[in-house]
Symmetry: C2
C-alpha cells in the first residue's frame, strides 16, 4: 500500500503548530460548509431504540428516495440498480474487487485521486496511467492514447468528473468518446461522480449513464460526503444497470454486513435539502475559485489549470520539487507566524517524475483565508528560490 | 468471493412470508436487545453543525476512553495502540491486507465465522482450516495439528473467542498454547474478541493480550456491534502493540479516509454504559441459552455443543443435509402457519463436506420464541425424514 501523499506531511504541520505557527490548510478535501439543517434535525429526532444492521444493499427507503434524486437528473435508474456503501471509498474498493483479478489493469487519466492507487494496490490490480495535460486544463486524452494502452488484461477506464484533483469537467463529447471505447473493447467505464453538483458556469454535468447503450458497461461511484458536506457520514453508492456485476458486488457487500445505519438516516434526510442550499454553496465556491485563480495568476511563474468544477486546482510552481517545497513550508518558513500546507501533486500521478512542480489546492477555506494563503505562497516561493 | 451461506436462503424466507407463514429467525446475529439509553441520548443531543471526517485512526477522544475500557480488563494498551475501523469487518479486512500477500496462508480452527473466508478471498489469501470437534464442544485442536499446517506462507492463526459459531470460550491454557506457537514460528495471532462480554458461568475471558511477550505477535479485532447492541453503528477496532504493523495498517485506514463520525460519537457514549445493562443482558442470554439447549436436547437424535459464550449454538441434526433441510423448512414446511429459518453449518467450514448435518442457531430471540422455534424444529425433522 502506498502512503497517502498528503498525510505524509501531517507530522510537519503538527510540529509547525506546536511552534505556534498558524497553518492555512490548502491540502484537504474537508469542506468548511455546514451540513444542511434538515440532516442534523433528522439525527436529533432519531426514532430508534436499537441501532441495528441495515440490509447489506442499504435501506430500501433510502434507495427509493435516492433513485428519485437520479431520475430528476435524467439518470434512469431505480432502487435495485444500486448498493449503498460506506462512502465512495468502499464503493471504489468493491467495484475494483468485483471486476478485476490480481494482475488485471485499469486505465486512469492522470493526475487522479491518489486513493485510486491504494484501492487498486489493495486488490493487486495495476493502474495504467494516461497523461492529461495542464496546458489543456487536463482535458480527456485522445482515443488513440487510450487504445494504445488497452490489453487483454484491461478491465476498465476510471475517471472522476468533475475531476479531483483537476477540477476539469468532461463535456458530453468527451464522455461519448469513452462510451465508444468501452463498447468497442467491452470494458467498463467507472465514473466517479461525487462532485456532480459542483459545477461553475454554464456547463452542465454529463453522466456516463446519460449515454445510450451503457447498461452493461457503466458504473457510477457516488457519495453524499461533498454534496451535503457530510464526509463523516460515510455513505456512498454504487450504481449500475449490469445485474450480473451487481450480484458479484453484493457478495462483497454481504461480507462486510451493512453500511452505517446512522449515516443512512442522515443521507435519506439530506435528499430533501432545499435548492437554496446548493445555490448558496455554489455561489460561495465559485467566488472562492475566482478569487484564488486570480491571486495565483498574479504570482510570477505560476501556471494554473482553470477549474470548472469540484473544489480543487492544480497549479504549477516555479520550484524544483513541490514535495520538498511543501515540507519546507511547514518546517522552515513563516511570514508573521503564518504558513501554508499544500498537497504535492506527484502523489496524484502514477508515472514517476510527473507532477513534480505541481501542487493541488483545495479551496475549502473562506475567501479571506484563501487570499492570505495565496499571498503566503507567493512570498514563500520567492524565499525558497533564494536559499 | 463466496456468497454468504446464510443470505442465500433469504429469498426463500421472503417467499414464505409472502405466503403468510411466520418465520422464526434463528439464523441471524442481529440482537433484539436495546441499545443503551445513554447512546441514543448522545445521538439525540449531538452538538455538531458539520458531519466532518474524523481522523483516519479514529477520534483521539474516543480512542482514549476506549483504552480506559481495556485497561479495566487488564489489557495494557493506550490510545496509540489502536485504529478505529468501520466495524469488526473492516478491522479483519485491513489486518489480512496488512499481514499477508496474495498466496499467503492463515490457519483458522473450523467451524469459523463465514466472512473470514470472504475477507481472505478478497485479499487472495488462502484459509487453511483445522478441525475442531462438536464432541469436545469445539475446544482448541492440539498443538501438533497446528504445527502440521504451518508453512513458509503461514502468516497467522485466526480465531474468535468466545466463538462464533461455536459459543466455545478458550481457556487461559488454550490461549497460552497459541502464544507458544506464535512465538516459536514467528506468526501473528489474530484474536476476534467481539463477544468478550458474553460469557455465561464462572469462566472469565482470557484475551490474547493477557499473554506475556505478545507485543509483536498479537492483534485483537473488536467491535461495539454486539457489546452494546449497536451493530448498525459500524464501529470496530484493531489493537496491536506492534508499531510497524500498525503503520502498515494505517495506510489502509488512510486510503478509506475515516471511520463513521456518527457511529464514533455513539460508541464513545457507550463506554459509560452502566454495569447493570450488562448484568441484565447476560442474565437474559444465559436464560435463553439454557432454555434452548434443554429444548434442543429433547429432540431425538439432536446433538448440541453446549456454548459457554457469545449467542450461538452449533447443533447436529438427524438429517441428510442441513442446507437442503433449511431450504425445505422455508419452501415446504409449516406448522400452524409457522416455520424456522436456520443457518446450515457447512458455510462455517472451509473443508468440503464438513458440517453437513450441523446448523448454527443464534439465540437472539425472546425465550418464548426460542421455545416455539425448537418445537418447530423437532416437528420439522420428523416430517422431513418421513418424506
Amino acid at each position: 500500500m502506498p502512503a497517502s501523499p498528503i498525510r505524509r506531511l501531517v507530522p510537519y504541520a503538527d510540529q509547525a503548530k506546536k511552534k505556534g505557527v498558524k497553518v492555512y490548510h490548502l491540502n484537504i478535501g474537508q469542506p468548511d460548509i455546514k451540513t444542511p439543517e434538515i440532516v442534523m434535525d433528522a439525527i436529533r429526532n432519531i426514532d430508534l431504540n436499537l441501532i441495528a444492521y441495515s440490509p447489506s444493499q442499504g435501506y430500501a427507503s433510502y434507495r427509493k428516495k435516492l433513485a428519485g434524486y437520479y431520475q430528476k437528473k435524467n439518470i434512469d435508474i431505480d432502487e435495485n440498480d444500486m448498493i449503498i456503501t460506506t462512502g465512495g471509498s468502499e464503493a471504489l474498493s468493491m467495484i475494483i474487487g468485483s471486476i478485476a483479478d490480481p494482475g488485471d489493469e485499469i486505465i486512469i487519466p492522470e493526475p487522479f485521486y491518489a486513493n485510486y492507487n491504494g484501492f487498486a494496490k489493495a486488490n493487486a490490480v495495476n493502474v495504467v496511467p494516461i497523461h492529461s495535460d495542464i496546458e489543456t486544463n487536463f482535458a480527456l486524452p485522445s482515443i488513440s492514447e487510450f487504445e494504445k494502452r488497452i490489453t487483454a488484461k484491461t478491465k476498465a477506464i476510471l475517471y472522476s468528473n468533475p475531476g479531483n484533483p483537476t477540477g476539469y469537467v468532461y463535456s458530453k463529447e468527451e464522455i461519448s468518446k469513452l462510451r465508444d471505447i468501452a463498447l468497442k473493447h467491452d470494458i467498463y467505464i467507472i465514473a466517479d461522480e461525487v462532485y456532480r453538483e459542483f459545477i461553475y458556469g454554464d456547463t452542465s454535468h454529463h453522466s456516463i449513464l446519460h449515454e445510450k447503450g451503457m447498461e452493461n458497461h457503466a458504473i457510477i461511484v457516488d457519495s453524499v460526503s461533498k454534496r451535503y458536506s457530510m464526509c463523516g457520514a460515510r455513505v456512498g453508492t454504487i450504481i449500475t444497470k449490469n445485474k450480473t456485476l451487481l450480484q458479484t458486488t453484493m457478495k462483497f457487500a454481504q461480507a462486510r454486513l451493512s453500511p452505517p445505519t446512522l449515516g443512512q438516516i442522515a443521507a435519506e434526510a439530506a435528499i430533501d435539502t432545499p435548492k437554496s442550499y446548493f445555490t448558496d454553496v455554489i455561489t460561495e465556491y465559485k467566488d472562492r475559485r475566482d478569487t484564488l485563480v486570480n491571486k495565483l495568476k498574479e504570482i510570477p511563474g505560476v501556471k494554473v489549470a482553470e477549474p470548472k468544477g469540484a473544489f480543487y486546482i492544480i497549479a504549477e510552481l516555479p520550484v524544483d520539487d513541490t514535495d520538498k517545497f511543501a515540507q519546507w513550508l511547514l518546517e522552515s518558513y513563516n511570514d508573521h507566524g503564518e504558513t501554508v500546507m499544500v498537497a504535492p501533486a506527484a502523489g496524484f500521478y502514477s508515472t514517476k517524475g510527473q507532477g513534480k512542480q505541481q501542487i493541488r489546492i483545495a479551496y475549502v477555506l473562506k475567501k479571506e483565508s484563501l487570499i492570505r494563503a495565496a499571498e503566503l505562497l507567493g512570498k514563500a516561493i520567492e524565499s525558497y528560490n533564494k536559499k
